[in-house]
């Protein structure tokens, strides 16, 4: 792959400079394999510089794919060098093959999920002993800020509190029982007075990855007296719990910052900031002392203790929102306390701080400059690659109008408009008649999809579509959706043809690939802006504006467009694949939306394919599909997107590659 070589040339400075990088590469072009092979090669060349590769991906199937690639690479190495390689690669995918760290220490390559590195609760267990000289790669990282935020946010409902209550009672019982039998055991006193010296020493000597939940100051201090003994601590938690319960008994929305919350808690129940900060650590110590094996039962109380520690530690970057009911069901009381992190850099900071090279990569990372800003780091390299193709295998089209010239848009004011819905229906109908096998259509939300489909049914559009293809719908029910997916694939396979109606940000839009005939066309109905009325989002936008000078609109558009890119990117998996990408909203034609698409899509988006009518779209699509159906052999790609060894070694080709790399 030609792309690989360009990629390699760009990675090199990243590794050399021991810095961080942001790279965008279209999916299916061998992103994974090129990264792996480069780092393995680098490791072979400079074993002292890079000792370990940590490869983080998002889902279990993706991790498995990485392992498969890695296996191929190892086979290739063995074949080329003839020597048995001494690499130990380790994949931590699901819970059933979770392993404990001694092995990780020795492995050269570790493949696992983001959460093992980002989520403070798990990272502590798994990743803290990774050495500083590791190279960390985050694959499919277009959502990394959300992962960071999720890992630091806490949601407390009444049920959590109830379960916590039972936890406290169990603790109390256990303590009193142990007290009767083995009083000596409860003398953790010494250790607690000593503070967390041990952890502190470890951190100073740079053995562990620091845990964002365990701030530095805590390590310097001893656990305050008020929670040193087990009974006192349980009592303390009980107090805190009562306070939270009282706070949840509200009838209107409350939003406050962490300091405000602390002040309030001090005034109401006289709980000081200091003991709160030690909650998480103290609970852990207690659980260890009591020798409680099944920690999963105590998830509620652990959650509360984490909340206590976080809220008292960080005065910035977090907000507390208490809502008496959900927005959708304003009549049913279901109070929730959102303790929401607004700054993704908090969770990822230790990762950037610790490892010499962190590479963030995905098929869709545009615009590249926003990631360093919101994650607060300084990349050595940022690059976006396009595909070098022997034929134009993707065809992005922006449909802005119906045949009646009515603008097509999912804009809030016009989304109920009869003409808009009818035009969307006509678009799907026309496409179903000319696109073979599978079409995937994305809507902006479940509610919007339900409305539109109901309306299509009334207008008889649905019936017409069904003459061409079967229709499957993604629902919020996971089992139902996977059933629909299975049937969808079957219908594509045996020539009946099918349409999958799904939702951007839903399960289908992330992680499920529609290779070849499973997705010959992707249609985006509307721009999938996030639900802007959510208070958490509002708070986050405000924070972004104040802290990073990112305007609300800019971020919202960025967020919407990365989901669009994800959705349409599902259809193209590799160079032999081809697919139509139809953006059905006139707003896509604007420069601010278009400019945020990945470069590999943008470069195929010509002025001629903006703001089309349905008829024009049909003509272009027909032509494209016929072109793509022409025989396409591997030899055609040679010299263009595939290079033989001789071509690779030739001088002018090397120059050409260097030139391209420079541009990138």
């Amino acid at each position: 792959f030609r792309l690989n070589i360009e990629g390699l040339l760009v990675y090199f400075p990243t590794l050399d400079a021991k810095g961080h990088g942001v790279l965008e590469m279209p999916s299916g072009t061998g992103k994974t394999i090129s990264l792996l092979s480069l780092i393995v090669a680098y490791h072979k060349a400079y074993p002292l510089e890079v000792t370990k590769l940590v490869y983080c991906s998002r889902t279990v199937p993706e991790i498995e794919k990485v392992v498969e690639e890695l296996r191929k690479l190892m086979d290739y190495y063995a074949k080329q060098t003839g020597a048995k390689n001494d690499f130990l690669a380790l994949a931590l995918s699901s819970r059933k093959n979770l392993c404990i760290h001694p092995e990780i220490l020795h492995a050269n390559i570790v493949v696992y999920s983001y959460h093992y590195l980002l989520d403070p609760k798990i990272a502590d267990l798994v990743s803290k002993e990774l050495t500083k000289k590791s190279v960390v790669v985050f694959d499919e990282a277009h959502n990394i800020d959300n992962v960071c935020i999720d890992s630091m946010s806490v949601n407390i409902t009444r049920r959590t509190l109830d379960r916590c209550q039972t936890n406290v009672e169990t603790l109390q019982n256990t303590i009193s029982r142990i007290k009767e039998t083995d009083a000596a055991k409860l003398r953790e006193y010494r250790r607690l007075v000593e503070g967390l010296k041990e952890a502190n020493v470890a951190r100073e000597t740079d053995m562990y990855l620091s845990n964002p939940v365990l701030p530095d100051e805590i390590l310097q201090e001893a656990v305050p007296g008020s929670i040193r003994t087990a009974e006192h601590f349980v009592g303390f938690i009980k107090h805190f719990l009562e306070y939270l319960k009282a706070r949840l008994r509200i009838h209107h929305v409350v939003q406050e910052s962490a300091p405000q919350f602390l002040k309030d808690i001090y005034e109401k129940v006289c709980i000081d900031r200091k003991p709160l900060r030690f909650c998480a650590e103290r609970l852990r110590s207690l659980l260890r002392t009591l020798e409680i094996a099944d920690i999963a039962d105590f998830s509620a109380i652990t959650l509360i203790s984490h909340f206590a520690t976080l809220v008292s530690t960080y005065s910035k970057g977090f907000t507390i929102i208490i809502e008496p009911f959900e927005d959708r069901t304003p009549t049913i009381a279901n109070p929730v306390l959102h303790f929401s992190c607004m700054d993704p850099s908090i969770a990822i900071k230790p990762v950037f701080g610790r490892f010499q090279s962190v590479i963030i990569t995905s098929g869709t990372l545009s615009p590249l400059d926003i990631y360093p800003r919101i994650l607060d780091f300084r990349p050595v390299t940022t690059a976006s690659f396009t595909m070098t193709l022997a034929r134009t295998c993707l065809c992005p089209l922006i449909v802005g109008r119906g045949n009646d010239q009515v603008a097509m848009t999912s804009k809030f004011e016009t989304r109920e408009d009869f003409a808009v819905i009818r035009n969307y229906g006509n678009l799907l109908l026309e496409m179903s008649a000319i696109v073979p096998d599978g079409i995937v259509a994305f809507f902006t939300s479940y509610i919007y999809m339900e409305n539109i489909v109901a309306s299509w049914y009334e207008q008889g559009i649905l019936e017409n579509i069904q003459r061409n293809k079967l229709i499957f719908i993604e629902t919020q029910d996971a089992a139902e959706t996977s059933m629909a997916l299975e049937k969808y694939q079957e219908a594509c396979e045996n020539g009946r043809g099918a349409i999958l109606l799904s939702v951007a940000r839903g399960k289908v839009s992330e992680g499920i690939d529609f290779v070849h005939h499973f997705g010959r066309a992707v249609i985006m109905f509307g721009v999938p802006y996030v639900y802007t009325q959510s208070r958490i989002l509002k708070a986050r936008l405000e924070y972004l504006r104040d802290q990073f000078q990112i305007r609300e609109n800019y971020f919202l558009t960025f967020d919407a467009m990365r989901h669009v890119a994800q959705c349409v990117g599902r259809a193209i998996q590799g160079k032999t694949d081809y697919g139509l990408m139809i953006f059905a909203d006139k707003r896509y034609a604007r420069a601010d939306k278009r400019g945020k698409l990945p470069r590999w899509i943008q470069e195929h988006l010509t002025d001629g394919s903006l703001n089309l009518t349905i008829d024009e779209t049909v003509q272009l699509a027909k032509y494209f599909l016929r072109q793509m159906a022409q025989p396409f052999r591997q030899e055609d790609q040679l010299g263009l997107s595939l290079l033989t060894l001789e071509q690779l070694q030739s001088e002018d080709m090397l120059q050409k590659i260097a030139q391209i790399a420079q541009q990138a």
Binding site: T388, L389, A390, R391, T392, A433, I434, V435, P436, D437, R467, N468, K469, C492, E493, N494, G495, R496, G497, H516, H517, R520, T606, G608, D615, E616, Q619, L620, K622, Y623, L625, R626, Q627, M628, A629, Q630, P631, F632, D636, L640
Partner: protein, 392 residues
């Protein structure tokens, strides 16, 4: 109201063309234009066809014509159905011209059903008449790939193993409505060594890709009408015989053509045996071909004797089929710049303008692309070699 869509389509036609030109400009040096790829593919097929492979001489071919709703689409003028049928007529003629001892049958599929239009037969007239009749029929519903393949298979599976069994599907729709799992049928077809090829009129459909790949056929999608014709003509040439097809001696009769005139006293007018299955007026004729085995009379060849089942052919028929056994070797292709010599084609005497020239390996004569194709597709012998043969 009726004229409205017609006009809209014409306008789009113009639009399409301007865009086509634009497209090529933009693709620049990085991407090979589709025309280039197509040209190479054309050449490649010539080469493939002319390796030292055995070609089937006796072919049994079923053509399945999709007549579903999608055939009413007007992207071929005046619509897909009319255009297809017109080309089919041409195809049938060419087919019998090149493969005189082969047979053809036509099946149409619409409304989820398959209907046999003509049975396997070696007489072009009947097929042409049937094709003319279909033009007026309406196109409704979905096609059924399964049903139509099944109909073809029922007949083909009884054909002897030394013949080449083929199905050609002209598939306009993008969907098929099947009563059972088509992949089972594909397995059966594969086991019966029936080769299925598909010409798609709209886009690449997965099930056709698999169907053709599994059964060893070809799958092409048309770009426009001329490309359609080109693809259809590819099927005129017999495919390589599968190595496992058994070789056997076939009994054939070479009937004498007896010409009798009215003035001849002995001549008695008689019916041809072929009137048995034709609905047309049976005519009394004087002369004809008489089966050497049973003396049954036929007016046209080639035919299978209705009485004794003997294949009746004429010697020129056999000779014409014969060249498929010894195909003309492919000419050597050299770029025009490297070619030094007189710049005109040996065959058409035209100037060599294309980017490559073709040299016959035997007589070293040079030809242009068009003549190269003509020599290999139609003449089946090199004019240069013929000349030298005669002079020596």
């Amino acid at each position: 109201m009726d004229e409205e869509p017609e006009r809209a389509k014409r306008w789009e036609g113009g639009y399409e063309r301007t865009w086509e030109v634009l497209k090529e400009d933009e693709s620049g040096s990085l991407k090979a234009t589709v025309e280039d790829i197509l040209f190479q593919a054309k050449r490649k097929r010539v080469f493939e066809g002319h390796g030292q492979v055995r070609l089937g001489m006796m072919r049994h071919l079923f053509v399945i014509i999709d007549s579903s709703r999608s055939m009413e689409d007007q992207d071929l003028k005046p619509n897909r159905l009319t255009s297809t049928l017109k080309l089919m007529e041409f195809f049938v003629e060419e087919y019998f011209d090149q493969n005189p001892i082969s047979q053809i049958g036509i099946i149409t599929t619409k409304n989820k059903r398959a209907e046999k239009l003509t049975d396997l037969a070696g007489n072009p007239k009947k097929h042409l008449a049937a094709l003319k009749k279909v033009v007026d029929s309406t196109c409704v519903g979905e096609p059924s790939l399964y049903n139509s393949l099944n109909v073809a298979m029922q007949t083909l599976k009884h054909m002897p193993a030394h013949t080449s069994k083929e199905i050609l599907v002209i598939f306009s729709s993008l969907t098929t409505c099947d009563p059972a799992n088509i992949y089972e049928l594909i397995k059966t077809l594969n086991a019966l060594k029936i080769r299925v090829s598909v010409i798609g009129l709209s886009a690449e459909v997965r099930v056709c890709t698999i169907l053709t790949r599994e059964t060893g056929g070809s799958y092409n999608v048309i770009l426009d009408e001329s490309h359609f014709k080109e693809l259809l003509m590819l099927h005129v040439k017999p495919p390589p015989a599968s190595s496992s097809s058994e070789c056997s001696l076939i009994r054939m009769g070479f009937p004498q053509h007896v010409i009798a005139s009215m003035s001849d006293q002995d001549a008695k007018p008689s019916f041809s045996m072929s009137h048995l299955d034709s609905t047309g007026e049976p005519g009394l004729t004087l002369g004809g071909y008489y089966c050497p085995q049973c003396r049954a009379k036929y007016t046209e060849l080639p035919v299978e004797c209705k009485v004794c089942g003997l294949t009746l052919v004429s010697a020129p028929h056999l000779a014409r089929s014969f060249h498929h056994l010894f195909p003309l070797e492919a000419f050597q292709e050299t770029p025009l710049e490297e070619y030094e010599g007189e710049r005109f084609c040996e065959a058409c005497q035209g100037e060599l303008k294309d980017k490559s020239v073709f040299t016959c390996l035997a007589c070293k004569k040079v030809f242009c692309v068009e003549c190269d194709l003509f020599i290999h597709d139609t003449l089946h012998c090199c004019p240069g070699c013929m000349q030298t043969d005669r002079t020596s």
